[in-house]
Symmetry: C2
Subunit: 160 residues, 2 copies
């Protein structure tokens, strides 16, 4: 690529945010699909409950975007929610905060290497993808928990 | 953004490919972790086996990139592999083909809307993300299968 040529636009910041929020809508539906009394009690083969996994997602999302914006990183702290209602309330608050914060990421930060939470060193885009990928990974596990509970998970392709 | 300003570089095509191939290395390790006689027989709660899910991934990866390059779409056909050796041989061949094909995607195609396999209409970047996300989703399910078999899955954060 010559220096006068614009870089290829694969995905814009607003498209990245929209993609993530679409995944977050699907994850929210997976949380809702769990019976209230199983979200923090049921798992397969001693793995973490889907409530614990949702608390991890909640602990990562806004704090990572804040860190990417400011390059100030606190310790990673998962949410301490203990009920489905608490998880969903925090989820919706995170949704609102991500919509406000994500557009504030300075353009250069996506390609800058940073160390998140004192331990994960990678470019900004990779760090943000890591958070989204981690959510998809754990939601996939939650789908198996739902099947094991005899519950049909929400369709993977529907992110509306 | 003014019209003279270059778009924000979130992720370049080569970074996207590297990100995907890193996930594909991890998925390969998950396939390897299954005992030969469980890959196409074991699952949880009547779900598809991880062998069947790997065959779906194999059927999507190269054919999607080919479609994004050419905008010619055949029907979606999963791999018909029936053994771990066959899956891994096809996996490694796909790895080589993706390295050759992905850089041939014309720059404008990432933002063009297209209909893949006659049924999925979305921009090129979203279609490619869908394939990666689908792999992460099903691999997460495979992690639960491995735990249910008493096998420690490969670490999620290690994509080397």
């Amino acid at each position: 690529m010559s220096t006068t040529e614009a870089p290829t636009l694969v995905i814009s910041p607003s498209q990245f945010l929209a993609h993530w929020q679409a995944h977050r809508r699907l994850t929210r539906r997976a949380i809702v699909a769990f019976p209230d009394d199983q979200l923090f009690t049921f798992s397969v083969s001693g793995m973490r409950t889907f409530g614990a996994l949702a608390n991890e997602m909640l602990g990562m999302a806004v704090s990572t975007v804040n860190g990417v914006i400011t390059n100030k990183w606190d310790s990673y702290v998962p949410s301490a929610a203990t009920t489905k209602d608490e998880v969903l309330t925090q989820w919706d608050e995170s949704t609102r905060q991500l919509d406000i914060l994500f557009p504030q990421i300075p353009a250069a930060r996506f390609q800058e290497t940073m160390t998140a939470f004192g331990q994960w060193t990678m470019p900004g885009y990779d760090l943000l993808l890591y958070i989204v990928d981690n959510e998809i990974h754990h939601r996939g596990q939650g789908y198996v928990y739902l099947r094991a509970l005899g519950i049909e998970p929400p369709p993977f392709y529907d992110r509306s």
